[in-house]
Subunit: 515 residues, 2 copies
């Protein structure tokens, strides 16, 4: 795509066509500037099979705000809409609507309350509440979902992979396997969720991180084609990067060629006063090869160099590798912990695509409309009660138990304050028979989750640094019960309604059924 | 991301860091301008489980070329690399290398031969052969894979979904579920592979297609919240779009509310001389609801309006829906074909993410280096013979049998011409015992697959229009054996080597083993 086309394709028309046809209809009906509230939330955790996620990490907000600040209807956008015709050749959009869009078609009238990036989040909890003129809030639906769903999916996967790796360094390597330019958002989300670095050079520069990487098989192949071989390739690498020498040892044969050659080069470096960094294994039985490599490296006097693993890693592969190392290391006379603690993980496809469940089902639903005498709740009736969005102008709280662990997220109407409810009653969102009552002593802290980030078209929030976002993720994950945090068959975290919100929902459903 | 950062993150540093550290090493060794050939190919078809793909549709080339035309090392890129330091704080990249990059760090010296977009392609066949100075060919690896892997994956999935829908209109609706800006590349690839339209407004504008879409549940919800209800929402829609009236009928209850209300509005439209377009079903048992809706619409005098299906569709869901309609339509007194032929498919998540196998495993391998006396083949030894890339400076042909159907793709060395080989011997790429001999009479046509698209830094190819690319895809799919084309358990298409290329590969392996 040419650059001029790119700015068009990624501008305000980066939305689904039906948002525009609906906005036009609202305009025609005089409803376009009516104040509405849309809630953005996801319905279920990423489901990779037996290892369904038990929590998500919220991500994407900053770049959404950046986009909202720039997006507007310029001449080219208006002209494109002017040319849109229906089945009989008549124009779809009237000139009066286009004139309104040209003048008012930006996000200046909206207010967003949102859960900050890096926070642990759960299904059916509003992560973003958008409030403002109906037409523009409607047009925002697609870009908002596009820019929040994917980062949240990837930050979540990164948190899981990092958890499996027990805090060892983890690098995002998936640029070549992701969805074109989307990999930049993926790399940022991976850093939020648990990756420590990415190989993606440009985005590292933007985010202020050092891009990471060493060399590929092609370096060794090149030297082989030139009649020189793996050792010459390693020597060349060590010559150019004597203090950053990390060698990919599996181009020919890991244990018979790559590792012995690497040790020759490491010895040469050591004699010159440099400290070798490590080796990378990118094929074969990674657990077996890690143990054998560790043994050989120890014997050669390199018990400290890193062993980087890559090739089809995800949280289960890492769990399996660590389990196998616990079994195999002692048989090779090694301490399993010592082997595990020198590992570094390079994770590609599984992370950048969230392989196994490649999309988060985030939705954006109309929940209330403002009338002169207050907010009128909106509801979508569904034959499946679990799919009925929670209606009304509302807000969200996180309740911590006496251990200081998060025990439930609570949705209330906007004028309720759970700190004043004692005992605190947590109503199941669907099943009327299920509720939970927490005595005041069982609650250590109640925290509002939504922050006003964008008010009347302006940033109303100090954007945290990526490091602060990462810190928030670590803190939130530590406050999860270990049953919720675990990778396989996690406990279900409670997302509840206040009794007042629950009664509102029920009365809307009953009123509807009677009508 | 701010726009200035975006141009940096999507410029020439849109690559993996190790490409740059390797390029620097080549520079240091005086190898950076040595001419090399890298082949881009994928190793296996997308594997969704029992319905593994039997062919792929090549896509992405035009946007890769657009990117190559713009990408270069400007001041900001050079400054960023200057700041990169290694483990002991020393700079990673020398000033002489950075000066070289500033002056020569673009793709002006490369030549690309490629399979055109829209063509059917198979594993291990070079889809792009990149030839030119080693350093820049190396830096191109990541962006090339990024910009070709994903579009090919999506064009392939679109072809399958379109095939399942038996030529009925199919629309791409997945913008909110894909990887951020990558959805634009996904929408284009979907159009190449078989989608007829996309809901993505901006990219439709860029590509010259009409964006498609009607309305969401929120329109009905809004009117309900305002105390007016579904019928009022439908009437508003019909007022604004009398000749494009397509109504989403499942917000409340499809058969009891949505459809009766739609018919009231259709009748009103008809009295005013307008022709209603159709209904959309987005939940529930789509096959059952399609049959019941068709029956009700027929009885109301609307046997021609479309029934758009959406909600979690993919090729298997569509197969199942059509099978169920074949069973259920006659029981409702309907002709199953008449029901099927009024269906339109709106496909979201499964298409834009290629759910089930969310990445194509395309790779980019050094296959030859040019020395004064000719091309020297490069090989990567692997314990798994199927993973050894086919070496050498070579090219690709497609062989058509006496029925005019594609029967094999043949890789030969560049100086071979299979038209001169009679009989034609097709050697299995791995197993020496398997070869196939085609007499001259069994071959109707042999076609070279690679075209020079980029030569010495300039476009050397008339870029086809999207419609021409779509036409090419249709023509290529028609020339596939139906066993290869089928959705479930397809036949394996043959990708073979010429005996000369096969012997070269074997001799390289043997030489290597002896050394």
């Amino acid at each position: 795509m040419k650059l001029t086309d790119k700015s068009f394709a990624e501008g305000i028309l980066f939305t689904d066509m039906y948002q525009l046809t609906m906005a036009h209809l609202y305009f025609r009906m005089g409803l376009h500037e009516k104040t509405a509230q849309f809630d953005h939330f996801f319905r279920s955790y990423p489901d990779y099979g037996p290892h369904k996620a038990g929590y998500c990490i919220n991500a994407g907000l900053e770049w959404l705000i950046d986009w909202m600040q720039e997006a507007h209807f310029g001449d080219r956008e208006i002209e494109f809409l002017r040319q849109q015709t229906g089945s009989t050749g008549q124009r779809l959009f009237g000139d009066d609507f286009l004139a309104w869009l040209r003048q008012h078609g930006n996000f200046g009238g909206l207010t967003l309350r949102a859960v900050p990036e890096g926070r642990v989040v759960h299904p059916n909890v509003p992560l973003t509440a958008v409030q403002g003129p109906l037409a523009m809030a409607q047009i925002l639906e697609t870009p908002l979902l596009n820019m929040l769903n994917y980062p949240t999916l990837i930050a979540t996967r990164a948190a899981r992979i990092s958890h499996a790796g027990r805090g060892q360094l983890m690098m995002e390597f998936g640029m070549r396997r992701g969805q074109e330019r989307g990999v930049n958002a993926g790399a940022r989300a991976a850093l939020i969720g648990g990756a420590d670095f990415t190989s993606n050079t440009g985005i590292s520069g933007v985010l202020g991180y050092d891009p990471k990487g060493t060399h590929a098989h092609s370096l060794v192949q090149l030297f082989m084609a030139l009649g020189e071989g793996e050792l010459a390739a390693f020597r060349a690498y060590a010559d150019v990067y004597p203090d950053d020498c990390l060698l990919l040892v599996d181009t020919i044969n890991t244990l018979e060629s790559g590792l012995p050659n690497a040790i020759i080069v490491f010895d040469e470096l050591k004699r010159k006063g440099h400290k070798p960094i490590g080796i990378r294994l990118d094929s074969g039985d990674l657990a077996y090869l890690a143990v054998q490599s560790a043994k050989i490296l120890n014997a050669a006097g390199y018990p400290e160099v890193s062993i980087v693993l890559s090739n089809q890693l995800d949280e289960l592969a890492i769990l399996q590798i660590l389990a196998q190392i616990r079994d195999e290391a002692p048989r090779s006379g090694l301490d399993a912990d010592h082997v595990s603690k020198r590992l570094v993980y390079g994770v590609g496809t599984s992370l950048i695509t969230s392989a196994g469940d490649a999309a988060l089902d985030g939705v954006y639903k109309l929940v209330a409309v403002q009338e002169p005498d207050g907010w009128v709740p909106a509801i979508k009736i569904s034959e499946n009660p679990a799919k009925m969005p929670n209606p009304g102008h509302k807000t969200v709280w996180r309740v911590y138990d006496e251990r200081g662990l998060a025990t439930a997220d609570l949705l209330t109407l906007d004028d309720e304050n759970p700190a004043e409810m004692n005992p605190l009653v947590l109503q199941h969102p669907v099943d009327s028979r299920i509720s939970r009552t927490l005595a005041g002593t069982a609650v250590s802290h109640i925290e509002p989750l939504l922050t006003t980030v964008w008010q009347e078209g302006k940033l109303a929030y100090e954007l945290p640094t990526l490091e602060q976002i990462r810190q928030r993720r670590r803190a939130d994950i530590e406050r999860l019960d270990s049953g919720v945090r675990r990778l396989i068959m996690p406990h279900i975290y409670h997302v509840s309604l206040s009794p007042k919100l629950w009664r509102l929902k029920q009365s809307l459903i009953e009123n509807f059924r009677k009508s």
